[in-house]
């Protein structure tokens, strides 16, 4: 009822993969010993909707022996191969996926215990280090670089049985909002391949949207998980700063960077977050806050009361519906707000007067920190070196050759902002603004359980549209940067469509919670997602039958 536009089902698609139709009648032995994850799959029963959990479906299929991990992996790899030429979401695809799947099948065959993410196909943004694949951060300066270690988040996923499918495209070192600033390729939006997928985690968002993988990791410094999630019609979760270890995430702006999760369902983002959260001695800023089971309070739609969110106080941030926001987006968000009201929430508008200050403060702080963080790419310690007669030329030429335009611009801006005579006017002032923003969010969240806003002022725009207008691109981050400055968690999930592309373009709603309250966001998001009628967030680029265990 909210989705005024429903993607028609008659567009050209890639052919259905026969593997999904396979049914295996192997003995359905009870494998309860394998169910190490506390979440039941009650939420899934009898559903084949776009928002049902891919992780639970995979788990169910494996443990009931309807499918093998190899079959699952093959089906995704097949779709990946078919869609990749037009999407270009991956910088590198692992050549060990099938072998890992086979290993898993062997273990299941021997009735060995498997992890809660067994067989789950995860794509990882290329600024997150993987020891078995190149990790370039989308930059020439690290072309071919292979870290000797896994990022903590990746290590945890592997330990729980997840299979890393490949490394996804991004704006160089996370600096950009379209994925056009990648040194290697431009990723297309699965909803309309003439449009950007958003950024900087555009590859990870597009990969989940096109079902090239089940879930993916991104990173979010100023909205780099949430804006592409909105553009690609998937769920994007930016955790509280410190919730997930940043060890192995290539630093852009250390005080803002977080690793985030993409899924095609809220539950999947929750599962993935649970897997990667927790204190890490390798990241002094990672929090010792307890990691609750974010998904344990999920309720199946069949068991929901008529007003399941009764008493929940929602604040709609007034400043996010001002001019400069597409009317289609505003309409979708207001529609989502009334949907929340129908679920029992009390929705009121809340004003954050400091909201517009977030954008300049963010670009000063992020650029300043990046000018320091990126000094490590000198051609000596990492990546590619340009031969030179003397040391300073070696540094200079390696950097001049290795960095792209956007990165150089931000290094220059940051260097300027930190320079003698400008420090007080820029860096120091931006820090003061940051404190004001933190306080105003705190005050708003004392009055409300959750704040809502659009995830972006518009839906996905055309490739090249803002490439030569960086200020217009930066302005698109207005909805998300404040949340990073305040260090809060935020969940973006698709809530409707606007006109554009062959079938319409998805719009995401952003739900912002109090620090370390991801559980509440996921619970509300889960109910919202299940009760949103007539919306199917599967892009036309792929076959609609994505239910692997149907």
């Amino acid at each position: 009822m909210l989705c005024t536009m429903q993607p028609p089902r008659s567009l050209s698609r890639f052919p259905s993969n026969p593997i999904f139709l396979l049914r295996h009648h192997t003995s359905l032995k009870t494998l309860s010993s394998l169910s190490s994850h506390p979440v039941t799959d009650s939420t899934l029963t009898g559903q084949s909707q776009s928002h049902s959990s891919q992780i639970l479906k995979a788990r169910h299929a494996l443990l009931s022996r309807q499918l093998t991990a190899t079959q699952l992996a093959e089906s995704f790899l097949t779709r990946l191969r078919l869609t990749e030429p037009s999407l270009r979401s991956f910088l590198h695809v692992s050549d060990t996926v099938l072998r890992q799947a086979q290993d898993l099948d062997d273990r299941i065959g021997r009735n060995e215990e498997v992890g809660p993410l067994a067989g789950v196909l995860v794509a990882v943004k290329d600024n997150i280090c993987t020891s078995d694949m190149p990790s370039t951060g989308g930059s020439r300066v690290l072309e071919g670089y292979r870290p000797p270690f896994d990022a903590t988040a990746v290590r945890k996923i592997k330990e729980l049985g997840g299979i890393v499918v490949g490394k996804t495209n991004l704006d160089e070192f996370g600096m950009g909002s379209t994925t056009e600033a990648s040194a290697f390729q431009v990723t297309a939006n699965p909803w309309d391949i003439s449009r950007v997928p958003g950024g900087s985690s555009g590859g990870s968002a597009a990969a989940v949207s096109a079902r090239q993988c089940m879930v993916s990791l991104g990173s979010d410094t100023g909205g780099s998980v949430r804006q592409p999630a909105s553009f690609c019609g998937v769920v994007g979760l930016k955790p509280t700063y410190g919730r997930v270890s940043r060890f192995g995430l290539m630093a852009y702006a250390s005080s803002l960077d977080v690793i985030g999760c993409f899924g095609s369902a809220v539950a999947d983002a929750g599962f993935l977050l649970h897997a990667i959260s927790g204190h890490d001695t390798l990241d002094a800023t990672s929090s010792k806050q307890e990691v609750p089971d974010f998904t344990s309070h999920f309720t199946s739609i069949n068991l929901l009361e008529s007003k399941p969110l009764k008493g929940l106080r929602i604040g709609l941030i007034r400043e996010t519906l001002d001019e400069g926001v597409d009317t289609g987006v505003t309409t979708a968000i207001r529609g989502a707000a009334s949907h929340l009201e129908e679920l029992g929430c009390s929705v009121s508008e809340v004003s954050l007067p400091s909201f517009s200050l977030g954008l300049p403060a963010y670009y000063i702080l992020a650029s300043s920190e990046s000018s320091s963080n990126l000094s490590r790419y000198d051609g000596v310690r990492y990546g590619n070196q340009v031969a030179a007669d003397e040391l300073n030329a070696l540094y200079g030429d390696s950097r001049a050759n290795g960095f792209g335009h956007e990165v150089k611009m931000r290094i220059l801006m940051g260097t300027y902002a930190l320079s003698a005579g400008y420090y007080d006017a820029y860096y120091k002032r931006a820090q003061q603004v940051r404190t004001i923003i933190q306080k105003s969010f705190k005050a708003a969240l004392d009055e409300h359980d959750i704040l809502i806003s659009p995830a972006s002022p518009s839906a996905a725009y055309k490739i090249g549209e803002k490439k030569n207008d960086p200020l217009a691109m930066y302005a698109g981050d207005i909805m998300t940067v404040n949340v990073n400055l305040a260090g809060l968690p935020a969940l973006v999930l698709p809530c409707g469509f606007v006109e554009g592309g062959p079938v319409g373009l998805p719009v995401g709603i952003q739900m912002i919670g109090a620090a370390f309250d991801e559980g509440k966001l996921l619970k509300v998001g889960h109910i919202f997602e299940q009760t949103l009628k007539d919306c199917r967030f599967v892009p036309p680029v792929i076959d609609d039958d994505i239910d692997v265990a149907s």
């Binding site: 630093a251 002094a284 300043s368 920190e369 320091s372 320079s419 003698a420 420090y423």
Partner: protein, 385 residues
């Protein structure tokens, strides 16, 4: 090893300026590498990267010091501190402790500091002291010649051979480092319990030790010597813990023991003597078992070979002769063997008492109790007059 490098910033100056001392900041850092020179003629220099990641603590002082000797003493006290705490060997030659100094001067009555000049390549406390004094003179001379503007913010090297400072590099201003708070290192909140535990686990620090020694009645010279080296201080403390007289123990350690260590280039932990035996030795002399002279012989034995005081006394038959009859016999023998001298003595040349005493002592191989010997000797010498 933690304390590896100490920066002290004494903005030294000529006698008409004044300051107050408190510590300004602690900088935790890590070492990167050390240059290894093979020989002075070598074209090559090796970089030892094994120190990469070794923690390093920088201590920056306030501009509180006015002379080279003051700054050197400040650095020496920090060296004592790291050694007392066992956080490092504080060895300046090895680079375990380094010290750069900043020197600025200003005219009397001026409140703002003059231009700061940094000096590096200081490999001993004495070079710290001399480099500062040289730099003060250099800057003062420039001022007096009206060439104060030639003092620029720069880094100068101390040349040990020429005993002067020379320009190494002109320095950028502080703000051009573009420092900002490091977001990857969050603030650390220490619990009171943690702080208390550290405080309670602290050993006696140099200043506390000096105060304690002073209160025992030791002279300032003794106090400074004993407390300077934690190992010497511990040796001394262990000796007096066995009940030895404080002054006697100090004298032995600062006298014969220190002399031996200096000649043999040994530390107090490397000599064979233990505090237990030094205490025995002092007690044996005080109790009259051995003479002071024998005591010195035994000490040498203990320093070089070890063993126990009792063992050496027995082995070498060094017990003092305190039997009056035995001494009397020896006195009689000496008197009878030297009739000529006896006659001279009795004729008024009483100085010859020393000669007789020496002969008796020689006969006893130094073991005769000197007091008893003199008493008996005098009685005998004066008996027939």
């Amino acid at each position: 090893m933690i304390g590896k490098r100490i920066w002290c910033i004494p903005k030294s100056e000529i006698q008409f300026y004044c300051f107050v001392l408190i510590s300004r900041m602690l900088i935790f850092s890590k070492d990167i590498a050390i240059f290894v020179y093979f020989s002075h003629n070598s074209f090559y220099l090796q970089v030892d990267l094994n120190r990469a990641g070794v923690p390093l603590l920088e201590i920056v002082s306030e501009p509180d010091m006015r002379t080279g000797i003051e700054a050197a003493e400040y650095a020496a006290e920090l060296q004592r501190l790291v050694r007392y705490l066992g956080v490092g060997n504080g060895n300046m030659q090895e680079g375990s402790l380094r010290c750069d100094v900043n020197v600025s001067i200003r005219p009397i009555g001026q409140s703002e500091f003059g231009t700061k000049v940094e000096i590096k390549n200081l490999n001993s406390f004495s070079s710290v002291s001399r480099a500062i004094d040289f730099e003060i003179s250099r800057q003062a001379l420039l001022h007096s010649q009206g060439r104060g503007d030639e003092i620029v913010q720069e880094t100068r090297l101390w040349e040990e051979g020429a005993q002067k400072t020379v320009t190494m590099r002109k320095k950028e201003g502080l703000a051009d480092y573009r420092y900002f708070p490091e977001p990857d290192l969050p603030g650390v909140s220490l619990t009171q319990e943690f702080v208390d535990n550290i405080r309670n686990s602290l050993p006696e620090l140099p200043e506390m030790k000096r105060r304690r020694y002073e209160n025992m009645g030791l002279s300032m010279q003794d106090v400074l010597f004993l407390a300077n080296d934690i190992n010497v201080a511990e040796f001394f403390d262990a000796t007096i813990a066995k009940g030895s007289d404080v002054k006697l123990a100090a004298n032995w350690i600062m006298g014969d023991i220190a002399a031996y260590m200096k000649i043999e280039k040994l530390t107090i932990n490397e000599i064979k003597l233990t505090p237990q035996e030094l205490s025995e030795l002092i007690a044996s002399i005080k109790g009259g078992t051995i003479s002071g002279k024998i005591g010195k012989e035994i000490l040498f034995e203990l320093l070089t070979k070890g063993g126990t005081v009792k063992g050496i006394i027995e082995e070498k038959d060094l017990v003092q002769i305190a039997d009056p009859l035995e001494i009397e016999k020896m006195v009689d023998k000496v008197l009878s063997e030297n009739p000529k001298q006896l006659e001279q003595y009795r004729g008024g040349k009483t100085k010859l008492q020393g000669f007789f005493a020496g002969q008796v002592m020689k006969m006893s191989k130094g073991k005769a109790n000197p007091g008893l010997l003199n008493k008996i000797l005098l009685e005998k010498l004066n008996a027939k007059s």
